[in-house]
Structure formats: structure tokens, C-alpha cells
Symmetry: C2
Amino acid sequence: MNSEPMLDLEVRAHAEHHASLRLWLRLLSCTTRIEDTIRQRLREQFGITLPRFDLMAQLERQPEGLTMGELSKRMMVTGGNITAIVDQLEGEALVQRQALPGDRRAYRVCLTAAGRSAFDRMARSHEAWVVELLSPLSERQQQQLHQLLSILKNGNSPLKSQEAS
Amino acid sequence: MNSEPMLDLEVRAHAEHHASLRLWLRLLSCTTRIEDTIRQRLREQFGITLPRFDLMAQLERQPEGLTMGELSKRMMVTGGNITAIVDQLEGEALVQRQALPGDRRAYRVCLTAAGRSAFDRMARSHEAWVVELLSPLSERQQQQLHQLLSILKNGNSPLKSQEAS
DNA sequence: TATTGTTATACTCTATAACTATA
DNA sequence: TATAGTTATAGAGTATAACAATA
């Protein structure tokens, strides 16, 4: 730290701000580029949108199914949107609504057998695309990136806790 | 590398794929969370959307203005959308269309004085938000993140070149 | 003919709010 | 009353394609 040149505080703050801003723009452009590629390939190769794929992914992780309200929370969108997406997927026989014993207002949404099989195929491609799109980074660099993002997400580092222990 | 356990190649590939997938999901969630926050604050505090802010940012970097076609390329959306955004911003007197001498089909879109002043205010807030939202990372960690993203973006590392030299 | 920009249209995702049925 | 889900509606962003004016 002593090796840093002494800068006027305001100038230095300004320079740091610009560095954060450049970092953010790069983070955004990298992420958007990958996301757009995935979105486009999902549409071209499977005729599905990212939100629909994500909803199926939620269901795949919960074989017992999820209620509309749970889906709404997990996908972080309001209920009306979930209704629309589930309607579409149900129209294609990829998911189904099942009565929920004990509460006739709600029901469980599950993948159908066809939905599970379709999702498996899509998920394999999706995973391969992600591997491909992240391949400029070595395994070690991916670990580093993951760790930095953990810090960004949680506001502190798992390593810090380890260091403190 | 020799310290790694010998794993069946397929199992290992699978594990790596899962690591890349988890990394991607984390990258996506971190970026989306920050972007959503910025989008929401821009709307609440300045009544502007991110695409409109971005278009103004493009113009701010080019005081001589940009044609619709140039804006379309830089914002990576098709021309009709640029027309709509410019129409809205022009309606609020934040940008203006100026005749382009020598080609009566095209024109230069510029920030107005009011647009420049409004953008300056918004950009200051925007930068402060970015600094705030990235603040869980130390300056050094931000540098590391930036470097990893450079590798991801360009497909190779400036450091690799240094290492190779 | 090719290019610049506009218009018309359609689709997806999103949110809000009023509504129905059930708890 | 409160909750689960639906419906209706509106607004933003996006793309495509036909179009007008100009090069």
C-alpha cells in the first residue's frame, strides 16, 4: 500500500469509481453476450425461451413439484406471469397441474414424462454451451472467478471465514 | 496437476461441466441482481429506462453526435427500436436530430444542453451505485475480477502473453 | 439498385390490479 | 379476512418486414 502514489483524495476516489464502472460494464457485457447466445440457441434448436427453460429447470430439481406461488418466488416474477408460462408449457404437455390434497385452491406443477425427457436433452446441450462459452478460462481461473463472485454475492469471502478460524 | 486424483475421464468431464454450470449461474445471478437494482433506481429516481440511459451514454461519448445507424450498431438492436427511443428522448427535449450535410437521408443525433445536464446528474448517481454495489470486493479483488473477465471476453489473457514473454 | 431511416406489426416478458374460489 | 391462483391490461424491449426518401 505504501508503494501507491499519494493522490488527492478526490482524484483517487474518482479514479477508483471509474475502475469500478469499467469493471461493471465488462461484467455486464460478458454476461449479456453469453446469455444472448444461450437464449438464441435455445430458441433455434429447441423452440423454447429462457424463462420457460428456467421454469422447467426449477421443476426438474423438485420432482415432487412446486405450487404456482413457489414458482413465482423462485423465478422472482409475479404470479400472473407464472400462470402464462405454465399454461404454455401445459399446452405442449411438458408440465401438468396436479391437485394438492388438503388445499383445493393450490396445486402442484410437475414435469410430465415427456417434459422430463425434453428437459434432459435441452439441459445437456445447455451445459455443453456453458462449458464452451466459459472455456477461455482455465479450470483454475474459473475457480478464482467463482470465488470472487461469491464474495460479491455474499458481501464477504468464504476464505475470510476460513482465515479467521 | 499431478496432485489431482485420477478420475475416469467421463466422470471428470461431468464434474467440470457442473462446475462451469454453477459458475455460469452465479455469474448470471450476480450480474442480474446488480442490473435490476440499477434499472429500478434509474426508474424511481430519474424516470428513465436502461436502454434510454444507455443511448444517452453513447451520445455523451460522441459530442459530435451519431447517426441512427451508428446508434443501432452500438446498442446492438435493430433500427426501428432506435427510432422509438430517439423519438421519446426528443419528445423530452433531451436529444435532437440535426441535419447531416451531404446526405439528406441521415442525420446526427446529439444530446441537447438539457440532455447533457440531465445525463451528467444521472451518470454521477449511476457511478456511485456501481461503486456501492461492487464494494464487497476490495480494489485488488476488483482488479482480479476485471482481468478474469478480460480473458473470458478475449479468449486469452494479457498475463499469458506476459508469462510467455 | 443500395442505403437510411420510419412505420406497422407481433411477440415475450414484466408488473399491477381486480377478480374467483377456497381456507 | 386472508390466501392461491387467474384474468385483464398496460408498458417496455425486441425483431421482422414493408415502405419512403435519398444516394
